[in-house]
């Protein structure tokens, strides 16, 4: 997993609540057995005027000019600004894979759905929760400021606005450590292999029916 320490990036605002994982990456693209290549189909139904299918050349498809990701001023964005309950719906990790493949490394929102939130950390994406009032202010700022950049600093746990104001955010110490170092969870867990074996042996003895 790629480390996440500090990101100075262009912000794209997606002004909708309850953006679900079906919208982030529609189901027909879940048929892929790979982890990459989902970027062109991020927000597929909103981004294009026709219906996408796996295997098609997306660069030939008609774009929806009204959709924010298609507007030239947001090209190259690395930070997605969103509303409440972002990423609700299914557990598909294809959603963070698509964000990442598109080039987005962080999502700033008022709140996230649990599984999506968790999946982000496994893929080097930092989900940042800020209070509603700050989110409102950021939407206004981004709308009003062409080329608006924010700095997301995981070490300091702050989002820095261009006017110098810094917005602190909370993150689990353990997840923060993993992201800062780009650690692989599996490797970390396997350090406890002896503990797992002992736990399993005890469990097998006490509740043998679980091991049929």
């Amino acid at each position: 997993m790629e480390k996440f320490i500090r990101l100075d990036g262009l912000v794209v605002p997606l002004d909708r609540a309850n953006v679900d994982t079906d919208a982030i990456i529609p189901k027909q693209f879940l048929k892929s057995i790979r982890r990459s290549g989902f970027g062109p189909n991020l927000f597929d139904e909103w981004r294009y005027l026709d219906v996408g299918e796996p295997g098609r050349d997306d660069s030939l498809r008609p774009l929806n000019p009204d959709f924010v990701l298609n507007q030239p001023r947001y090209r190259g964005a690395q930070i997605l600004l969103a509303r409440q309950n972002f990423g609700c719906g299914s557990s598909r990790e294809h959603a963070p894979w698509a964000l990442l493949d598109f080039g987005l490394r962080t999502v700033i929102a008022e709140s996230f759905a649990d599984i999506f939130f968790n999946n982000c950390f496994k893929n080097g994406i930092l989900p940042v929760v800020l209070p509603a009032a700050e989110i409102d202010a950021l939407f206004a700022l981004v709308e009003a400021t062409p080329g608006c950049h924010l700095v997301v600093d995981l070490e300091q746990q702050v989002v820095l606005r261009p006017d110098g104001r810094s917005l602190p955010f909370a993150v689990d110490p353990f997840r923060r450590e993993c992201l800062l170092n780009g650690w692989d969870d599996i490797g970390l867990t396997l350090r406890h292999a002896e503990l797992i074996k002992a736990f399993e042996a005890r469990r097998r003895e006490q509740q043998p029916w679980l091991f049929a």
């Binding site: 909708r16 609540a17 309850n18 679900d20 079906d22 919208a23 529609p26 189901k27 027909q28 879940l30 048929k31 892929s32 057995i33 790979r34 982890r35 139904e45 219906v51 796996p54 295997g55 509303r83 409440q84 309950n85 609700c88 719906g89 299914s90 557990s91 598909r92 990790e93 963070p96 709140s111 996230f112 759905a113 649990d114 599984i115 968790n118 999946n119 496994k122 893929n123 689990d172 110490p173 353990f174 997840r175 969870d185 599996i186 867990t189 396997l190 406890h192 292999a193 503990l195 797992i196 736990f199 399993e200 469990r203 509740q207 043998p208 029916w209 679980l210 091991f211 049929a212």
Partner: protein, 468 residues
């Protein structure tokens, strides 16, 4: 100190705990399907790792499999490759049980687990699928995980977790005639919202919940994720134990007796403290119909489509307006005046035998309305299908003009050929009405099996209570 059911389950599975409370949780049952597992097996292979305990794995193919013309195999090559990849992975690594495409016991993973007895009380159950919350009906700590976590569980038999807060959803009283577990679930989501349960483990309690069959309880826990909760829970009682007795993977003989003693403790202690308690009187719940593009956009069938103009919150109002545009509905339209194009009875929410019996009872001797282009019944598993056929339910559906299909996820998410065309409107017993969920541009209304059946006959929504 009195403990909640969730706290007992949590405590029973902690292998190790970090200073910040992140815990290593042992996983008893790992359900696997074709969509969210290929990259996990691939990762395992690349790292030169093996599954920690293959006897924890139960696998099936469900999302991509066609529901008709099984003789032709899987015609979509991309879907076929994904299913074949699962076949190859299970062959290479092994599993306790695998129900591949066309196996008589194949079906939706959340139907197959419980019916085979692979889901047992007190287990941690995970699957790369958000509706894993279904298994909480058996007092399991059961929740969906992403593909990285699928790989993590394969490699370590554990997950890194933070303890959730606890919520008790108390539904007391008697459910009215025609009011089902699905309606209770939708009414709860309407009340607390799709983010209302975020960060919580929801335990469903109260006399109305106790009165539900295991199948109804599964429907309720299935929808916990739509309320934002990763997991739903229901305590063990005689209904749970009766359901499990004799199932293929349930313990037998002396082990069964030993297990039952253990299982009976799987309930919240009297006086246990929950972080949040919500009471929903059963009598106040009517049959529900969603009108928008989120499960929280729901009203009773005798209500009207709400008017965004009366919503004070601007973000919510915008969302309502967008939803109404997408759904092609105008404010104040009576729900019963909404005409339909398709009807889908199926999905891990409502495709079990009792769901099919309930729908068949409504359909019996009647005919699907002429404006309905397709009325589909998709049993949740091969065993459900066989049982239904033994009872003659397939004949009732076919005679009325329904199509009777092979098991799978089907039009719940339309990864196979079963889908809505743009603009088509569907009464569906599934769990998500997001934009495009059942096909790009398709319009989904979530309802109970009885309500879907009645809507197929009438051609529009109608109040099932007037039919009984």
């Amino acid at each position: 100190m009195p403990q909640t059911l969730y706290e007992k389950l949590w405590q029973d599975h902690v292998v190790h705990q970090e200073a910040d409370g992140t815990a290593l949780i042992y996983i008893d049952r790992h359900l696997v399907h074709e969509v969210t597992s290929p990259q996990a097996f691939e990762g395992l292979k690349l790292a030169g790792r093996k599954p920690w305990r293959i006897s924890s794995i139960v696998a099936t193919a469900d999302h991509n499999t066609p529901t008709d013309h099984w003789d032709r195999g899987i015609e979509d090559p991309v879907s076929r490759l994904q299913v074949e990849t699962l076949d190859a992975n299970i062959r290479a690594f092994g599993a306790l049980a695998y129900f591949p495409f066309k196996d008589p016991r194949q079906g939706i993973v959340h139907v197959v687990g419980p019916e085979s007895g692979a889901t047992l009380p007190g287990m941690t159950v995970v699957c790369g699928d958000s509706h894993t919350s279904t298994h909480g009906a058996f007092a399991c700590m059961a929740h969906g995980i992403g593909t990285s976590e699928v790989e993590h569980v394969l490699a370590t038999q554990c997950l890194l977790q933070k303890k959730s807060k606890t919520m008790l959803l108390q539904v007391d009283g008697v459910l009215g005639r025609g009011v089902t577990a699905k309606d209770v679930a939708l009414a709860i989501i309407g009340r607390i919202g799709t983010a209302g349960g975020t960060g919580y483990a929801i335990e469903f309690g109260g006399s109305a919940v106790r009165s539900l069959s295991m199948e109804g309880r599964m429907t309720l826990c299935n929808m916990a994720i739509e309320a934002g909760a990763r997991l739903g829970l229901i305590a063990v009682d005689e209904v749970t134990i009766d359901y499990l007795r004799g199932r293929p993977f349930a313990p037998q003989g002396a082990r069964w007796e030993q297990a039952v003693v253990h299982w009976r403790r799987l309930r919240s202690d009297d006086g246990a403290r929950f972080d949040r308690v919500i009471e929903m009187p059963a009598a106040a719940i009517g049959p529900q119909v969603t009108w928008g593009t989120s499960p929280e956009m729901v009203v009773p069938v005798d209500a009207r489509v709400p008017d965004p103009a009366s919503e004070p919150d601007p973000v919510k109002r915008e969302g309502m307006e967008r939803a109404l545009r997408y759904m092609g509905l105008s404010p104040d339209l009576p729900i019963c005046d909404i005409a339909l194009d398709k009807v889908f009875i199926g999905s891990c929410t409502n495709s079990r035998i009792e769901d099919l019996r309930a729908a068949a009872a409504v359909v019996r001797g009647r005919t699907v309305a002429s404006n309905i282009r397709l009325a589909l019944v998709v049993p949740g598993s091969g065993l459900v299908k066989r049982q239904a056929e033994e009872e003659g339910l397939d004949e009732i559906f076919r005679a009325a003009g329904f199509e009777w299909r092979e098991p799978g996820c089907s039009m719940c998410l339309a990864m196979n050929a079963d889908r809505l065309e743009a603009g088509e409107r569907c009464a569906s017993t599934s769990n998500r009405n997001f934009e495009g969920r059942q096909g790009a541009g398709g319009r989904t209304h979530l309802v109970s099996p009885e309500m879907a059946a009645a809507a197929a006959i009438a051609g529009h929504f109608c109040d099932i209570r007037e039919w009984l």
